[in-house]
Amino acid sequence: MIQNSQLRQIVSARKLYRQLLRIYPASHRAEYGEAMEQLFCDLCRDACRSQGWRGLIGLWPHILIEMIQTAFREHIDTIQQRGEFMTRRQWMITVGFSGSPLFLGLILTLMNPAFMGHLIAPNSSPAQPVGWILIVAILVLAGVAGIVQYRIFRSGDAVQGETARQRLFLSFSLAFLVFPAILIVIMGPALVQILAMK
């Protein structure tokens, strides 16, 4: 027999569980949210009957871990079912747009004689701060570019096919890929000299 105090605890637990269900996709919540709440209440009732309030508290760790695991899977399933998952071409463009600045940053870093000198001869003067600032700035730029590109592909424009915006980003991506390649060709000899200092 469940006491009134335990009933109140179950009601409170159900309210909390209802709020936590928000981590699931909206479509999944609309379809199964009520049933999941009902099952949670059943579990709470069983826990209270067997172990009282301790059973109710002991229920939460398993519930929370399971919610995180299953919510993640439901989000992945929802994205795939809606067809919003990016095509291989879109992934390549996103990686190119965000990865090229990283590659450019790597090239510029290698071209920084003070930085390379420090790598080759640790006892020499440390790399100039401007080199590190440049690397951080390019990492931030790459991250922002990747996020922006991904959000654009997630939007309706990308689903409807190639648009002017996509072509613009594609051009930037190619530019970021070609520019570092040109730098390598031009600055290659200097790079070799730096490495030969060792």
Binding site: Y24, H28, E31, Y32, A35, M36, E37, Q38, L39, F40, D42, L43, H62, I63, E66, M67, Q69, T70, A71, R73, E74, D77
Partner: protein, 119 residues
Amino acid sequence: MPDIDELLPLTPAVFHILLVLADQERHGYSIMQEVQTLTGGQVKMGPGTLYGTIKRMLQMQLIEETEDRPDPDLDDQRRRYYRLSALGHRVLRAEAQRLESLVDVARKREILGGGSVAL
């Protein structure tokens, strides 16, 4: 109609749900309780696992949802009932036969006791 072999092997959650629905239609709490009883408490499904699996099984047409109604043994809330579909029956039988073959191999290699299992 999907090829049954493409659906095998089943995940433990899917297999257990099909198993408990083999004899009668049940609602979510009944499914969870029966799975726990059948497995001696080793398999415990929470709401997320159970209804996520039910959703996918409905999509694969392994189970069907029947009319909502209260459970006379519980409270008066209307509960969603599920039953095996014809495909679900065939898939369950195929998976049970697959597991039976594996158990037979384990017995022949003396990993499990007892004689061979007739297929």
